[in-house]
Amino acid sequence: MVDYIWIVIALPLAGAVFLHFFGSRLREPLPGVIATSTIGLGFIYALIATADFFAGTGEAETVHLFDWIAPLGANAELLWDPLSAIMTLTVTGVGALIHLYSIGYMHGDARYGRFFTYLNFFAASMLILVLADNFGLLFVGWELVGLSSYLLISFWFHKPSAAAAGKKAFVVNRIGDVGFLIGLMLILAEFSTLTYGTVLEEPARVITTGMATAITLMLVLGAAGKSAQIPLYFWLPDAMEGPTPVSALIHAATMVTAGVYMVARTAALFELASFSAAAVATIGAFTALFAASIALKQRDIKRVLAYSTISQLGYMFLAVGTGAYVAGIFHLFTHAFFKALLFLGSGSVIHAMGGEQDIAKMGGLRKIMPVTHFTMAVGWLAIIGIPPLAGFWSKDEILAIAFGEGGWFTFLWVIGLITALLTAVYMTRWMYLTFWGEARWEDGVHPHESPAVMTAPLLALAVGSAGLGLLNTPWPFKPALEHFLEPSFEAIKMAHIPSGSTPWILAAVSILTAAAGAWFAYRKYQGADAFDIAPVMPRRTGVWRWVGNAYYVDDIIGNLIVLPGKLVAAWTAFVLDSEIIDGSVRAVGGGVRRIGGWLRPIQTGFTRNYAAVTFAGVVGLLLWFVTRGVG
């Protein structure tokens, strides 16, 4: 029995509470150590629990903690099955390494203790999200992760841009959450409870495909908000305002994958609604291509990686959309490692360059930061998909399955392939401009290798990025991950790699595209002098300018949605509310005053007038008597 699993959540939560009150009093590294140890312990517990799971019956277990909102079937219950296991391991594993890294990175920050409070709080919320056994608790984790990302993005709150980025992230997430909420409404209306057990066990018995499509589309809206897919992706690049470990942990490895996890968890519903699954895949593919194209011309070292993350998440959505849930989770797992590696690497570069983030002002760091350079090289090769590194296996599996599904998915495979090419180009550009070529540092900048506490996690992640690919390699070894995740998806008809020789050909094709992209970019930037980070495409076409400004999406949303929204709100507030409605109330008052004014002259002041009126009253009374005919 795995009823101790709640400790995994309790540890970081306790850490967060403790550090909230005493963090600021402890000397520099202590809060960091405490935070890292809580999540590290969590990782160990997760490992034990996974072992317990396989030693035990291999059935998914529900641990009931306490009643929360009973009428909705949303109680504090945790679910422990392979899917939540893999997610917990990723969150706690990568999380621990990033916590360790932040001890060094956040050195000297005024709110050192507070940073680790928020980091631990994030870990606890993500674990709630991942371990929840009903949509209610999932939604709790969902919004708490949004809160921690808000707190961490605007960590350096004195920077107005950081505060605005934090608010933007939370609001956009909330747009997605409204969709998610509507999905929950539909679920409750149909299943009259939110617990996974009732909803995901043969939903076909309860709902029609039409309703399943509606529910899943709403959930997809929530997922798109959280995992930064079109149309709700534009908050992620701004989220780079937060400290780099935040970007690594939240905006690369864990939080943004919540959407993918949710789609995987509700696979039973998506199976019923093929249209939604196709929609998920399509959104994924197009987001991947779209984000990859933007990444080509970004100058900020972290924004390149941000768009790259959006693109890789697109791949994961493509995978779960085509029904390749294991491939999606596999790519999520590997991506967590190499993207965290790349982010932390860029963090150490920024740290070394004294806060400089513009890759145009870097270059030639190869010799000065050997360890960072080596680990970045591993990450670079992993992400563009060069075997035997992890990136190749997971991305190739997704593309292969997509190709195998045929029809529309084959077209998505083409898009995936083009994205792979673009990924190779921008990542090589990123590597080249940062590490190779001549040094283009501004004067007064003298980079140095980062301390051990930062490079150690880099090495650990590099090992992960290189080695983890073997976990699910279809050919030489048995696909271990697929076997591991089997219990979670046994009721689901999963898409698999096409048999026969096609996978080999597809593998060759994707390796070729990756190599071509890399060689092209290398040749391109190697020849050009330092400052002519010339556009890959001919300068004249407007497209390049559009790409540079991320298709002006921010400005479009700015004055197509935000500005009119404010105008309408302002009109409602200062015209409709205070003039029309309040005005009408005041008008009533005014009206009464005016009527009073008309009646005033009756009081003439002359006693004799009043006497006359009185006498008129008497006569009137008599008249009434007369008319009634007395007697």
């Binding site: 929360w68 004195h158 939370f170 609001v171 747009i175 409204v178 409404m185 404010k566 302002a570 109330v585």
Partner: protein, 512 residues
């Protein structure tokens, strides 16, 4: 145990008010401690009431009855059930906090404290009275102390705001009185003798058209109190001009009299009309939600922003009530309590900053987080609780309401869901303008963070917000039987079938 606790709950604060007034003028320092002690005593009584409240019994408990004017059928009839027990507890909880929050008031402090205590007694009276005339008397009586609270100790335009508040509500209660009298007349025809006893009036069968008119009469009085969408313009003025304690109590409890009125009287006494008009009122509520939130976004004045947020939140409560499902109703009732806490806390915080800078204008602030970190922490926490962040109390109510009312009003509830989004927008945008960035203005740099007194009133509220958010079971347990009883009556008296009844879910769970 014949200690009639309900009468004590009402008359203890009222007696307290008299005691405070009687205090010698030479000893002003006695006023606050005594007032505080009395209100804490009432809180203790209310706590005892909640603990001793038997959650299994859906009917009225601790009932007290004494004739006042028997031949007219008016009697001093008190009772409490799942719906009113927490509102009484909320009232008793907010007043000690209001008193401590207004320690700085020098101008006629004795009368201020006496008015507060009087208000507390009348408020508890409203929630406990089971006799329509008694209810009406308390409903009217508390207007007077509230008028003086705003009129004497308010801001610049206090007289205008107080008058508007008083007249607007009085207009509403005029209709209420007509309705009550008509009801007793009906009782006279059907039972032989006129009666205002709520329990007896329940068995009255009123013609459908009469129900519509009565629903309208009662409805207008409560709609103004809630305030429902078109009748809300008195609220922002009343709030901006009221002193901190006034705002806390006004938002915390006074507004709930409207929703409580709908739930206690309209739903039970006029079932057919309720079922027919539920859609219309739910629509009004949803308009209120979006309208209140949209207007709050652009408010330059912090207190007006919180006032409009109350319009939005209470729109949720009314939507929950008129969803006529068990989740919706219990969501509505618990949201009344939650809103009282979160908005009460928000007003306390706004009051604290007003005491320091004497301006409510958001643009006058900036970068306070650096200068007042603890204050910023409390404000952000309360803002998120108010925006319905899961894990805090606001979410429990809103989640129940949204999911509960979808089955009855699908389109409306989807629009209402966007209210949750707008809530995040106006709260975070206000937080950003007031707290983040560099404290550029000189006065902002000189501000001191919140002291022990202020923290001592915020901490219990924060604790309750978390407790209700994480473990609302004890509260939900006590609310559900009363809500089920309302729905049973509705289903008996009309051909209305409320979906997703909690007992259906229970037996669905059983036979799974």
């Amino acid at each position: 145990m014949d200690l009639n606790i309900l009468s004590l709950l009402i008359w203890l604060p009222v007696a307290g008010a008299a005691v405070v007034i009687g205090l010698p003028r030479r000893r002003p320092e006695l006023v606050v401690p005594i007032a505080f002690a009395l209100s804490v005593l009432t809180l203790g009584l209310a706590g005892f009431l909640v603990v001793d409240f038997d959650s299994a019994d859906a009917g009225f408990q601790f009932v007290e009855k004494a004739a006042i004017w028997s031949d007219l059928g008016i009697d001093y009839h008190l009772g409490v059930d799942g719906i009113s027990v927490f509102l009484v507890a909320l009232t008793a909880f907010l007043f000690p906090i209001g008193i401590v929050a207004s320690v700085h008031i020098e101008h006629r402090r004795k009368e201020f404290m006496a008015t507060l205590l009087l208000l507390e007694g009348a408020l508890i009276g409203v929630f406990l009275s089971l006799d329509l005339i008694l209810f009406f008397v308390f409903f009217e009586v508390l207007l007077v102390p509230m008028y003086f609270l705003i009129g004497l100790w308010g801001g610049e335009r206090r007289l205008e705001a107080a008058l508007k508040f008083f007249l607007y509500t009085a207009l509403g209660s005029a209709f209420l009185l007509v309705g009550i009298i008509f009801l007793s007349a009906q009782a006279n025809d059907q039972f032989g003798s006129p009666t205002f006893n709520y329990l007896e009036l329940l068995d009255l069968d009123i013609s459908r058209t009469a129900q519509y008119w009565l629903f309208g009469a009662f409805g207008i009085a409560f709609a103004i109190k809630v305030p429902l969408f078109p009748f809300h313009t008195w609220l922002p003025d009343a709030h901006t001009e009221a002193p901190t304690a006034g705002s806390v109590v006004l938002a915390g409890v006074l507004l709930k009299m409207g929703t409580y009125g709908f739930l206690r009287f309209n739903l039970n006494l006029f079932p057919e009309a309720t079922v027919q008009l539920a859609g219309f009122l739910a629509a009004l509520a949803v308009v209120g939600i979006i309208y209140g939130a949209a207007v709050a976004i652009v408010q330059p004045d912090l207190k007006r922003l919180v006032a409009y947020s109350s319009v939005s939140h209470l729109g949720f409560v009314v939507l929950g009530i008129f969803a006529l499902t068990s989740q919706g109703l219990s969501g509505g009732v618990i949201q009344m309590v939650n809103h009282g806490l979160t908005t009460g806390a928000l007003f306390l915080l706004v009051g604290m900053i007003y005491e320091r800078r004497h301006t409510r204008d958001i643009s006058a602030y900036g970068g306070l987080q650096k200068v007042m970190p603890w204050f910023a922490g409390f404000f952000l926490f309360t803002a998120f609780a108010s925006a319905g962040l899961p894990g805090l109390n606001g979410f429990v109510g809103e989640f129940l309401i949204l999911l509960g009312s979808y089955t009855r009003h699908p389109a409306l509830t989807i629009i209402a869901a966007f209210g949750v989004l707008l809530a995040a927008v106006y709260l975070l945008w206000a937080y950003e303008r007031v707290f983040t960035g560099e404290p550029d203005k000189e006065e902002n740099r000189a501000l001191t963070d919140i002291g022990l007194r202020e923290v001592s009133i915020l901490v219990p509220m924060v604790a309750l917000i978390i407790a209700l958010g994480v473990y609302p079971k004890p509260v939900l347990e006590r609310i559900e039987p009363a809500v089920e009883r309302v729905l049973d009556r509705l289903e008996e008296r009309t051909d209305f079938e409320s979906p997703l009844r909690i007992d259906d879910i229970a037996d669905e769970e059983v036979n799974r």
